[in-house]
């Protein structure tokens, strides 16, 4: 069975400092992995996705994530955080060869940016 764990419920970061949001997954088959961002009072927007083409995935707004099979991790990083990055971030796992129901969301990490 697949699962996803976001290790931190809240992450404070200083403006222009590097940031990392952690995500670990469990899957019995090669997974598809995603990061979504949710701004206040809005729906979720796709940041980036891993579909086995490359282990380092680049997304929108300067975000990146690296798939590490040995560590079963897919941490989200950005070299310099901006105030506009303050939001909630969700890591999502979906198994290949799965049905529409096999999409699991992490519990979310709220990123706050300090000036």
């Amino acid at each position: 069975a697949q699962s996803v764990t976001q290790l931190d419920s809240q992450v404070p970061v200083f403006e222009e400092a590097p940031m990392e949001l952690r995500c670990n997954y469990s899957s019995s088959v090669p997974p598809y992995l995603f990061w979504y961002v949710q701004y206040p009072n809005q729906g979720l927007q796709l940041l980036l996705k891993y579909t086995s083409a490359a282990t380092l995935v680049k997304g929108i707004n300067g975000f990146e994530a690296e798939f590490k099979k040995s560590e079963t991790s897919f941490h989200l990083t950005k070299p310099s955080a901006h105030m506009s990055d303050a939001a909630e971030y969700f890591c999502v796992v979906s198994e290949t060869y799965s049905s529409a129901s096999k999409i699991i969301f992490g519990s979310g990490t709220r990123l706050s940016i300090r000036p």
């Binding site: 995603f34 809005q42 729906g43 979720l44 198994e95 799965s98 529409a100 999409i103």
Partner: protein
């Protein structure tokens, strides 16, 4: 450029009342989903549909019913609202991509309070 549209955006109900949430997508997506979002729990799948005329239960289906009479619309019904159904409801849609069905496109949510 609408994407996924949810109506209404806000609603307050009394216990025992019924209502229907409407989701409409203009991307010709095959798959549609209803989620609820509660603090600290990420998104949980209520029901989903893999095509017009088909629906299936997700993780938390009790107390809800759905219908997909037209490909572009996915309705979520609460027959007898309970306070435990106070939540933010998100609709999403996607198309199958190979053996998976990502990424999902989300609406902006419906904030529902049951008194």
């Amino acid at each position: 450029n609408a994407g996924v549209t949810q109506t209404p955006k806000f609603r307050v109900l009394k216990t025992g009342q019924s209502m229907t949430l409407l989701c409409a997508q203009d991307m010709n997506h095959e798959y549609m989903y209803w989620y609820r979002q509660d603090p600290g729990m990420g998104l949980r799948l209520i029901h989903y549909s893999v095509g017009e005329g088909t629906t299936a239960k997700g993780e938390v289906p009790d107390g809800y019913n759905v219908s997909r009479l037209k490909k572009q619309n996915f309705l979520l019904g609460l027959e007898s609202a309970a306070p435990s159904q106070t939540s933010v409801y998100f609709c999403a849609s996607s198309n199958p991509q190979g053996y998976s069905n990502q990424p999902q496109h989300f609406g902006d949510g419906t904030r529902l309070s049951i008194l």
